[in-house]
Symmetry: C2
Subunit: 137 residues, 2 copies
């Protein structure tokens, strides 16, 4: 019951970028060093984030990354969905085919409240809203 490293890294990367949005571009090197994420793994993630349009990249010397979509319009839920980490509505927590409230699994009644709250929390947590003062990175 935890997020994938890729999702964790991505949330921290984008939060870092928001916290430094005064600067026009941020490099993979800076992100890797400041967030303590393996450089090569980070660049792989960045390329993916470019592909899906969360950020854009400027190649070559003095290059780097900046937001393409606004940070207030990217949610933690979007990130989890991207890396297949989201809590899907139709997915049974016990893995018994797909969720059908007419035919509930053993945990359904206990789980459903937490599930809804989690989904709402992830959906409402924009990158803008979580990036804040004095948080650890």
């Amino acid at each position: 019951m935890q997020l994938s490293n890729t999702s964790k890294y991505t949330i921290r990367i984008l939060a870092y970028m928001v916290n430094h949005k005064d600067r026009s571009l941020i490099s993979a090197k800076e992100l890797s060093e400041n967030l303590d994420i393996p450089y090569k793994f980070l660049t792989k993630i960045m390329t993916e984030l470019v592909k899906v349009g969360f950020i854009e990249s400027i190649r070559g010397r003095e290059g780097g990354y900046k937001f393409l979509r606004k940070a207030s319009e990217i949610t933690v839920g979007d990130i989890l969905e991207l890396f297949n980490d989201a809590i899907k509505n139709e997915e049974c927590i016990l893995g018994i085919d797909s969720c059908d409230p007419k035919q509930k699994c053993a945990l359904h009644d206990k789980w459903i409240k937490s599930k809804v709250q989690l989904q709402k929390m992830f959906r409402e947590s924009t990158i803008e809203s979580i990036a804040g003062e004095g948080n650890k990175i």
Copy 2:
């Protein structure tokens, strides 16, 4: 953000056993067939459950498994802990060393409420309490 197969299987196995607690012993074959869990994988899990004392096994012909600890005293939380699937208190959701509310991570304030509720839900869900009528298995 989901449970391991091993945890899912175990919850279903123990719930099934509660639902058939009239019978003195239940075999791996029956569990495997009725719950659609690979036989060899299931026996591996059962042996582990015997080792930690949730159930006991009777070997030989007409053998099988039955509860050792009472089903009302085994919780879903116990199972998740056993398979390292639990939400640990000291574990940061973003993976930034260990949780220190004095030095919060970006998601802390949004996450903490769900976290507490999930932990409580898992802790309060005994096998006895989730096994019920007409649930899918």
